[in-house]
């Protein structure tokens, strides 16, 4: 019996603002079981708990911080060109209610 349920999958999807069809949901469930099995491979690798997770591709790259210089704004026409709906210089969306 899988520890994942259809409802769980739908709730995960919903939090990502994604809707799933029945079929898609089923596929996620199947995939979850596979992942859960493979994750146990990972867990069983010895000595991992003390390790620092590798979050960067290169650990110590000589990077620079940016000097505090401001550049001209992008033109508002460029900024809005791809938006579905605009109002004057702004992007318009249906009313956002908390």
């Amino acid at each position: 019996m899988s520890k994942f349920t259809k409802e769980m999958v739908d709730s995960y999807a919903d939090k990502l603002l994604i809707g799933l069809t029945e079929e898609e949901n089923k596929m996620v469930l199947e995939e979850f079981d596979t992942i859960d099995k493979t994750i146990s491979i990972i867990e069983n690798i010895s000595g991992i708990s003390e390790l620092e997770p590798m979050m960067y591709c290169l650990d110590d790259i000589a990077t620079n911080l940016r000097e505090d210089v401001s550049l001209p704004s992008i033109p508002v026409t460029d900024a809005l060109r791809n938006a579905g709906k605009t109002d004057g210089r702004e992007i318009e969306v249906p009313k956002v209610v908390e």
């Binding site: 995939e31 992942i35 099995k37 994750i39 591709c57 579905g84």
Partner: protein, 481 residues
């Protein structure tokens, strides 16, 4: 158009062909290839020839994977979520090529946002393999691999998060090179998994890969992970001399005895691989076998899935249809965002997002995401330890030639074997990694991969260059079976 960059440059300089003819030919070829293999999202019919200068790429047509931002030209990531998106800025690496006089003639199709290894999930439909239309190109840089193999131009840009340049290159019989992480700026590359994403190039020769990368590389103040590579000169490093170089392969991957039911294709694949090793030895390199804990190797694909899906779900959170992308008519703003995502993303990447989100959740993060990142470190540390002893790792790409469309559904399957996934090691560590063609099985090309330590791109390319010289596959153009 079947020629290399240097050959074309020669012809242009000597006025054997005009720059205009070259672009026209490339565009014409683009339409043919589009017709036959469905390789492109956009063909830039209004592409203009550019002045021929000292730069080897001046006047040379090239293709750009459609997950690069290109100013004024549709850039979709092969996703319905961006099917009408026209950027107002150009990715750094593309800009550098344009500044050098190269001419972008098309935008190539990919697995949606690079999330896939089949070339079957672009919103414009699957890309077909130019050697056999019933087979896939692999992905995600499917369109770029297909176009270069078909002789549309000498090079195209790809991107590589798992093996997205290097596997399609093998399936299409060409060269695919992903330099060390950060040698090429990612500014303008639509992100899939930022800590694994690499820009790179697909060509028909190692020399061309070196030429193009020499132009594209460099520290970019738009990308903090890019670094100063001004001391690296890839083209100049191709001496063809690898005497004394030490290479290794991984026993657990390369020993045919590990594959209980090895079919004739797999046997042939290893035979070709071993032949390549012999050629390298003839050139004065030594090759040794190294053993790596099989559990680590088995974990590669899980680590990859967990990490790449997690980063992807965050990276693609900007796709809500508010600022760009098609918008739904929903009256509630959150419904509007949800509808955009539900309709825009293909089922495959929706599933990956859910996996990614799941492994990042507070209660799961330690067990899934962080443990995966820890195993990533073990694998990378192991490789770095080996790279102290060796100049490069050499392995066969995949389990054979391009797969039939009905063979692989690109769903995680527990039998997915190490042979198919090992190239992801190159992304884990940011290692320079190149695939070159090394033979044929049933008239379908197969490839071999050479991977080295970070910042050691010159060495990796020179080994590939030397091996390439000893084989007859350099510059080959796909011929349908």
């Amino acid at each position: 158009m079947n020629k290399s960059i240097t050959e074309l440059h020669e012809l242009l300089v000597n006025k054997k062909i005009t720059d205009k003819e070259l672009i026209e030919e490339s565009l014409k070829k683009s339409h043919e290839v589009e017709e036959k293999y469905n390789a492109f999202v956009t063909i830039c019919d209004d592409a203009k020839e550019s002045e021929i200068t000292d730069s080897l790429v001046s006047g040379i047509p090239f293709g750009v994977k459609d997950n690069y931002s290109t100013k004024g030209i549709l850039s979709t990531g092969s996703s319905n979520t961006l099917k009408n998106y026209i950027p107002f800025y150009t990715a750094t690496v593309v800009e550098k090529l344009l500044n050098a006089g190269a001419v972008m003639v098309n935008k190539t199709a990919l697995d949606e946002f690079g999330m896939g290894g089949t070339g079957t999930t672009p919103h414009t439909g699957p890309v077909l393999n130019p050697w056999d239309k019933t087979r896939m190109c692999a992905g995600s840089s499917a369109g770029s691999a297909c176009a270069v193999a078909s002789g549309v131009y000498p090079f195209a840009l790809g991107s590589d998060t798992g093996d997205s340049i290097r596997k399609p290159a093998a399936y299409c019989g060409i060269v695919g090179y992903k330099p060390t992480y950060g040698m090429l700026s990612r500014y303008g590359l639509f992100p899939f998994a930022s800590s694994l994403d690499h820009c790179g190039v697909l060509t028909r020769s190692v020399l061309d890969a070196a030429i193009v990368t020499d132009i594209m590389k460099g520290q970019d103040n738009h990308d903090m992970t890019s670094w100063d590579s001004s001391h690296i000169h890839l083209k100049d490093a191709l001496t063809g001399n690898i005497k004394g170089k030490k290479l290794f392969y991984i026993k657990e991957i390369c020993d045919i005895k590990n594959y209980k039911d090895a079919n004739s294709t797999l046997k042939e694949h290893f035979k070709i691989f071993n032949h390549s090793l012999e050629l390298l030895k003839e050139s004065g390199a030594t090759i040794q076998e190294e053993s790596i804990d099989i559990d680590l190797l088995k974990a590669i694909s899980s680590v990859y899935v967990v990490l790449s899906c997690a980063e992807a779900t965050s990276n693609m959170s900007n796709l809500t249809g508010i600022i760009f992308g098609p918008r739904s008519d929903a009256k509630n703003v959150f419904e509007m965002m949800k509808e955009h995502r539900t309709l825009g993303f293909s089922p495959l990447i929706k599933r990956r997002f859910i996996i990614g989100s799941y492994v990042l959740q507070k209660e799961n993060q330690e067990r899934y995401f962080k443990n995966a990142a820890r195993v990533r470190r073990i694998i990378v540390d192991k490789m770095k330890e080996l790279f102290k002893k060796y100049d490069a790792l050499i392995l066969p790409v995949s389990s054979g030639p391009a797969k039939k469309f009905d063979e692989d559904l690109d769903i995680l399957d527990e039998n997915t074997n190490i042979l198919e996934e090992h190239l992801q090691i190159g992304n884990f560590g940011g290692f320079p990694s190149i695939t070159i063609p090394n033979g044929f099985i049933d008239n379908l090309p197969v490839g071999i991969n050479i991977t080295g330590n970070c910042f050691d791109d010159e060495n990796v390319l020179n080994i590939a260059y030397t091996l390439e010289k000893m084989m007859p596959y350099k510059g080959q153009i796909a011929k349908e079976k």
